[in-house]
Structure formats: C-alpha cells, structure tokens
C-alpha cells in the first residue's frame, strides 16, 4: 500500500542545566520497554540493564577530600541513552545485521536476528547497549504491567534504547491515516502523545525530543544553542542526541559540563 510516509529525523536535546538526577526517566523507561527487573545482584555484577541511566560525577571531590571542606563539591548528572549515532560504530560490526540505521535516523536493534556476539557493545563508546545475561523474569504481580507493544527480549541477545519506537510508529500510523505530516508538537514531550517515555516522564523538561528535520521544532532550535556539544565528539559518531552544557555560575571558564 502506498502511504504518504514522511521522513523524520528523530533527535533529542539533553539540557544538563535542567537535570536534577531524579531518575524518573530511568523508571519510566523501565516500565515502558519491558526491561527486566534489575536486582541488587545485577548491579553488583555490573549486568544491570538501563536503557537510559544517570551518570553521577562529583566535581572537585579529590581536592575537597584533601582539604576536608566538602562545601565546594558539586554533583554533576548526565543522562546517557543511546545516542542514535548517524555514523554508529555498533552497526558495521554486527555480523548478522541485527543492528542498522533506519531512514528516520534511529539506530535500531532487531532482536530476532541477534546472536549475541556482543561486538556492538564493545564498539559502543557510550556503553548504552545491554546484553541479556539471564532469561528475564518478572514477579507474578507485574505480568499485567508488561507493555504489549514492546517485545520481551530473551537471554543471549542485545537490547538498547529505541527512542520508544512503538510510540513513534503509533504517530506514524496517525500520519498515514490523516495523510499529512503531523505537527512536531505531537512528538514533543510537553504537548504530544508520541514522545519517548523518558522525555514524557522528565519533570524538569531536560529531555527534549522531536524531529530534527523540522526547522521550527523545539529540538532543532535548542540544538542550535551555543551551549551544545556532542558526547565524545572526537570519535566522529555524529550522535542525534545533543547535550547542552550546564551553566555554572561559579565556573569562570568553559571546562566543565
């Protein structure tokens, strides 16, 4: 069937000045995407699966420990999710095409094709790909909580952030039904239904999702902010997730983020 499919290029802006490290995005992602329950032992074994995680860094801790004055120590939070790189290092190394780039700028993982070589996770500088070390299980009480729109992954395969592709597909179907491109507000966490769970859950509007192809979308305008940077840009992965540097009133230079 010929559809009036419009080309999007999904992207996200993470405004670090707004992030409080509350982890609501982590929980929302867990609930939306049928991520297995991470028990304490999974964290201790370093096998926890978190498609989005908050990395916490202490700034100035080493000096403060020497002087004993902890008042100058700053907590820095950075949410890290799949950067959906345009030039993704994980894609060419998969022997079975389990991961590829789709025409909407998403780096997608096809669970059925994956054989679990784990080369992609080695080749991911952001460490946002996750291997299912165990068969995922949920307590009986959570069986009705599982999202029917998301595949439950099996042991031995990789998984990663999809930008909640099930929601984007829902938006895409609406576009096909209405025969026109949806307004970007429909995909914006503030005003629309189809934004990823993490962006919808973020109380401070740190995670701004939208269509990079739409020059007027919130995400495209924010991406042009002069605080913007790309994570580990020197590797040349061309991520579709843009970070905005934290505004630090104490800092005299641009060395921190």
């Amino acid at each position: 069937m010929v559809t009036t499919r419009v080309r999007h290029k999904w992207g996200m802006v993470v405004d670090l000045d707004r992030c409080t490290g509350c982890q609501a995005c982590v929980v929302a992602c867990q609930a939306e995407n049928n991520i297995p329950i991470n028990l304490e032992q999974h964290f201790l074994q370093r096998r926890a699966i978190e498609w989005i995680r908050i990395e916490r860094y202490w700034e100035g801790l080493e000096e403060a420990e020497k002087t004993g004055d902890l008042s100058k120590v700053k907590a820095r939070f950075i949410p890290i999710l799949c950067q959906h790189c345009e030039n993704a290092p994980c894609e060419p190394v998969c022997p079975v095409y389990a991961t590829y780039h789709n025409n909407e700028g998403l780096n997608v993982q096809i669970y059925n094709r994956c054989i679990g070589t784990r080369y992609c996770v080695n080749n991911c500088p952001y460490q946002v790909r996750f291997f299912n070390f165990w068969q995922p299980t949920w307590p009986e009480s959570l069986h009705n909580q599982l999202n029917p729109h998301v595949t439950v992954r099996t042991r031995g395969i990789m998984e990663k952030c999809t930008f909640c592709v099930q929601r984007l597909r829902k938006g895409g179907r609406k576009e096909v039904q209405e025969g026109k491109r949806l307004d970007d507000k429909e995909f914006d966490a503030q005003s629309g239904m189809f934004a990823p769970a993490c962006a919808r859950a973020c109380p401070t509007d740190t995670l701004v999702f939208g269509d990079m192809n739409d020059p007027n979308s919130r995400v495209s305008t924010m991406a042009k902010d002069n605080r913007n940077y790309k994570l580990l840009a020197s590797i040349g992965t061309e991520p579709n997730v843009i970070y905005l540097k934290k505004v630090d009133l104490d800092a005299s230079d641009a060395a921190t983020h």
């Binding site: 998969c94 070589t117 996770v121 080749n123 500088p125 299912n132 031995g156």
Partner: protein
C-alpha cells in the same frame, strides 16, 4: 650437525612407525587423563550454552574476555604450521624436516580448538550458523563489513588449506603404513593413500603441489592473524584496541608463540616417541635462532604500540595504560608478561648452549606462551575496562569457573588431538626424513669430514 647419525630407510620406517603400530601404556594413560579434561571442558561449554552468560564472570563493560583471549591465543599458535612448512620449505631451510608435520598438525588442532571459542562465546550458540553466507530462508546475508564475518572466512580457509597441505605431504607415508597394515587398517590406509605407488610421476605431482600450496598459503598466513587483530583494531570505541599497528603486531606475535609451541611439541615428541635420532639439537638450534629474531621483532611492535598510543596523551588512552601497567593486579601480570614473553626467552635463545639444551628449550618455549597468553589478556580485558573517558562505565573482570575450565580444557583438546593423530599417522614425516638422508652429503673441511646438506630438488 655433527651429531647426526646415518640412517637406513629400514631404520627410518621402524623408528617413525613405532608409535603407529605399538601402543604403550603411557599413551592410554595420557589419552584417559586428557579425555577427562576435554569432557570437563565440553561440560562447562554446554553448561554455559544452556544457562547463558550469567554463569560466567562477564559483565559490562568487559563483554569479551577469557574465551576471546583464548581464541586469539590458539589462532596465534596455529601460525607455526605455515611458518615452518611453507616459508621454510620455500626458503629450503633443511632443519625444518622433522618439525613440519608436527607444526602443521598443531595448526589443525589449534585452529579447531580456536574455532570453538567464538562458538561458545555468542549468546545464542544455536544461531551461530547465521554468520555463514547461507540464506536459510532468512532472506538476509551476513554483514560483510563485520570483522566477525572475516574471521570465520579466514579461519576456515586456513583450516582447509592446512588439511590439504598435511594430507598431500602425508600421502607417501600413508602408503608405507598401508603396505605394512593388516585387517581393517589396510583398507583404511588403502583408501587414504589414494593409490599411491611411488611412481616418479606421483612424486613429481606431490612435490609440485606441495610447493604450489606453500606459495598459495602464504597470503593466508599473513591474513589470518591480521583479520583476528582487526576484531580489535577496527573497534573505534575502545581506546586500547583502536590501533593500526595491530595487524603486523599480531602476526609476528602469532609466529612467536606458534613456533614456541612447536618447540614444546618437538621436545615432547623427542622424549615420548624416543625420536632422538630425528629431532636433534640442531633443530632446536635452528628454531631458537629463528625465534630470537622473531621475538625481538615482536617486542619492537609491542613497544611501538605502547609508544604510539601514549604519544597522543589522550586521557582515555593514558588511563588504559595506567591500568594495564601500574595498577594492581595488572602490573604484576604485566611484569610477568614482560619477563616470560620477552626478557627470558630472547636472552636465553641468544645463547648456543641453551639452544642445544632440549630441556631448557622446552621450558623456555612454555614461558613464551605464558607470556603470549598474557599479552592477549592484557590487551583485551584492560582495554575494555577502560574503554573511554566516561569513568562511570569503567569496570573490572574476574574470570568465573565456567570459562576457566573451558579455557583450561582447550590445552587438553589440542594435546588429545595430537596424541590421537600420532596413533594413526607418524608425526615425523618418513618421506621427508628419507629425503634428508638421500640429500645428505659429507664434505671435507680441513681434516674432518662433516655432514652437509645439498639443495633439495
């Protein structure tokens, strides 16, 4: 070379076929012990396949560890076969004769063992055939850009060509056994000998195909470990791996560990099969000289790799090297690697006395391989522990029992393969030994007559 004693063809046949026609008690004992070890390894592999990678010590970010280290190690060992057979054959190094078949067979069994490692290493073993270019109705071909597609291609090409190489070189020997065998063995060797009667035309064809195969195999020799090194070299995300020097570095390292493996094997053959007349000090001398050059060349690449990586002073690279060289316990492993992989062997191989002492050569060659195993470990595991500058994702790795048993049993797998092979075929080539006798020639040097070797035909 003065210790060489003249041998008649009858003696050669009797000595070299003894392991085929008699089965000493130690053979059964060794096969028994090794079979138990192999069974333990396969058991742990099945345990891993059934229960998944949760049972290992693997974690995030160390997603490749013990099994992959072992894979690179055994592919490295397999490089001895071509080094000794093809290169030394083409360069007509006479001392290679008794070592060639052992080296080639070591290649076959170490490649078979190495090929198992990525097999058990994937999350869904039962889907491993998807990496081969065979459709199976999936409607999708393997991703030829992935080094994990290059790997099986290179390894299976190498395995096939080595098996051909061994087989063609062994045809005359199989015919000799056929002529002496009785019962079902006669039929078995009769089929394998493919009608070898030793006519001049057959000898000519056999020699030509041997030389041709040597020449054709040479590119494979360079490519196999280059490709294995690209598993790591093309990984842009891992600072410790992403180096262009990896291909030559790994190839020369493979020759270093592989030829050392052949020394180990030759010493064992000399002791176990009482082949003192065939595997002599001069062979260890030749291999020792070769290895001292290879070892120094390999160390040059090791230094280059470290210098290149530190030259940029990138934070991630520096943190990786700090972990690898100066942080407990990797600093101890690094020192052990430095001593066993380079200092002891290279300095000792330079001494003629040591090269002629077979027990010493045996132990040094084992040292080399301890060092080379550690080398791969020091690249793969600390490399993943310090992938990038995002310190939040730094991790560590300690091997679990499952992968340790599996890795340990791979040594038994190779040894068992060689032992069983030695029961069916002579590990020292009869025809080559006889050819060496024919070509042997004594020349007068001053007052003494010394044996010399004229060129091969």
């Amino acid at each position: 070379m003065q210790e060489r004693v003249p041998l008649t063809e009858r003696e050669v046949n009797r000595d070299l076929l003894r392991p085929v026609f008699t089965t000493p008690l130690w053979w059964w004992a060794a096969v028994g012990v090794l079979s138990v070890a192999v069974a333990a390894g396969l058991g742990s592999a099945l345990y891993l396949a059934i229960n998944g990678f949760g049972v290992t010590g693997y974690n995030r970010p160390v997603m490749w560890a013990f099994l992959l280290v072992n894979f690179v190690f055994w592919v490295g060992i397999s490089h001895a076969g071509i080094m000794l057979s093809a290169i030394l054959r083409l360069t007509q190094a006479e001392w290679r004769r008794p070592a060639t078949r052992a080296a080639e067979v070591l290649t076959i069994f170490s490649l078979l063992t190495a090929a198992q490692m990525p097999l058990w290493h994937v999350g869904r073993v039962w889907r491993i055939y998807w990496v081969f270019p065979y459709d199976f109705g999936r409607g999708i071909w393997p991703n030829v850009r992935s080094p994990l597609i290059w790997d099986p291609s290179a390894i299976f090409t190498y395995l096939t060509s080595t098996i051909l190489f061994v087989y063609i070189a062994m045809l005359p020997d199989i015919a000799v056994i056929r002529d002496r065998a009785t019962g079902w063995r006669q039929g078995f060797y009769g089929v394998l000998a493919m009608g070898w009667r030793g006519t001049p035309r057959q000898w000519h064809l056999q020699a030509v195909s041997g030389i041709l195969l040597s020449a054709i195999i040479l590119p494979i020799f360079v490519s196999v470990h280059s490709i294995v090194s690209w598993d790591f070299g093309v990984a842009v995300a891992v600072e410790g791996w992403h180096a262009t020097v990896f291909a030559p570095y790994f190839v020369i390292g493979a020759v270093w560990s592989g030829v050392a493996g052949v020394i180990t094997l030759m010493a064992l053959m000399r002791w176990l099969f009482k082949a003192e007349k065939y595997i002599r000090a001069e062979h260890f001398d030749g291999l020792g000289k070769l290895l001292s050059v290879v070892g120094i060349g390999w160390w040059f690449f090791t230094l280059m790799e470290i210098i290149f990586s530190l030259y940029s002073k990138e934070a991630a690279e520096v943190s990786f090297r700090t972990l690898q060289m100066f942080t407990w316990p990797y600093n101890m492993l690094f020192i052990l690697f430095f001593l066993t992989g380079f200092v002891f062997p290279v300095t000792l191989f330079l001494s003629r006395t040591v090269r002629h002492n077979i027990a010493a050569m045996f132990w040094i060659s084992i040292f080399v391989n301890i060092g080379m195993w550690l080398e791969r470990y020091m690249i793969i595991v600390p490399g993943l522990m310090r992938k990038q500058g995002l310190t939040f994702t730094w991790g560590s790795y300690s091997p679990g029992a499952t992968e340790t048993i599996l890795v340990g049993s791979t040594f038994a797998m190779v040894a068992l393969g060689l032992l069983i092979f030695s029961k069916f075929f002579p590990l020292i080539p009869l025809s080559d030994a006889k050819e060496g006798e024919v070509l042997r020639h004594e020349i007068q040097v001053g007052k003494v007559k010394v044996p010399a070797i004229i060129r091969e035909a």
